[in-house]
Subunit: 196 residues, 2 copies
């Protein structure tokens, strides 16, 4: 299978990380959003939403949305256990990631680290909401080792992608000790690969 | 089971609609975000994210995030067919809904219809992005009757919730004929219930 992705993107890194953890071979096709490569006519035929990551199956079919791709790859593996309530909680945290976490933590990292827009007026409001997300995660980890399941699942991979580089968007994890420990637990999973 | 929800919320309506389509009995506990009822100490113990809808199982356990609740209710039913690629496409559209649709279409409806904030500076930017989402959906429907599957699934229920009332946020569907036809197809599903 092929993965179209921007290497520095956390959403794209989710797919790379899970493919390595599952030892699935793949071809990475660097597609840089910063160069407009997801908005070309050719790419829009593959994904009309104009975003990466995008998975191309050997059949030629395409699948988009990072967390839907994680589901596709993880179903029937240890990263998506076969229990309805656990599966639903895993998805709960993945929808939390896309609605209440990524739009603030990933976007501020993007503006500050990759767009050199440290004075963008959106940053301050995003910062407050990003802190809310990190606090909710940190509180959850006071009684749980992982998100959604008792062992690492695709919700952890989803949340790890932007949380472990949150400092690049000026969200230091030093005030969230449970999150810092969880980041280390994820790094210890066999076959872990870093984003950079 | 119990559903905590704000009746006028599309996210909450998703759950009500699916429960009716599946003929599952439930108790609705009106919990109005506009009155701060999702931010009380008592409610935050049930859902630390402070949002509705929230599902309470007979076991006393809670599940949040509208689309995760749809998955929990629909798995092993006709609204989530047992085919990995179809399931993944259904989730793809549901993540699209939460990331690229709801934050613009639902938020403008909320500001205009329920908060009387017609001059909020966010509305204009949201409007352009909401139109993008509706255009992508309308284009998809030029070759498909539904989203994710060849028959109605939870991705349709998810996308229907705010699309069919998009006009309340000043997104008329008149320019999207495929969307208008799809809205009618959803309304024809047996046991359909309206939002109001």
């Amino acid at each position: 299978m092929k993965v179209y992705g921007t290497s520095v993107s956390g959403n794209c890194y989710k797919i790379k990380l899970l493919l390595h953890l599952l030892k699935i071979p793949y071809e990475w096709i660097e597609t840089d959003t910063r160069k407009g490569e997801t908005k070309t006519q050719e790419f829009l035929l593959k994904n009309p939403v104009g975003k990466v990551p995008l998975l191309e199956l050997d059949s030629g079919e395409f699948l988009s949305e990072s967390n839907a791709i994680l589901y596709f790859l993880a179903k029937d593996t240890e990263f998506f256990p076969n229990d309805l309530l656990i599966q639903s909680r895993i998805l709960q945290w993945m929808f939390f990631e896309q609605y209440s976490h990524e739009p603030y933590i990933a976007v501020n990292r993007w503006l500050i680290q990759f767009q050199n827009k440290k004075d963008d007026p959106k940053i301050q409001g995003n910062h407050a909401k990003g802190l809310d997300a990190l606090r909710i995660m940190n509180d959850h980890l006071s009684a749980n080792k992982f998100f959604g399941s008792q062992r690492p699942s695709i919700s952890d991979i989803s949340l790890f992608a932007y949380t472990h580089v949150a400092e690049e968007g000026h969200f230091p994890l030093s005030g969230f000790p449970n999150l810092s420990s969880w980041v280390e637990r994820i790094r210890e999973i066999p076959d872990f690969v870093p984003i950079y």
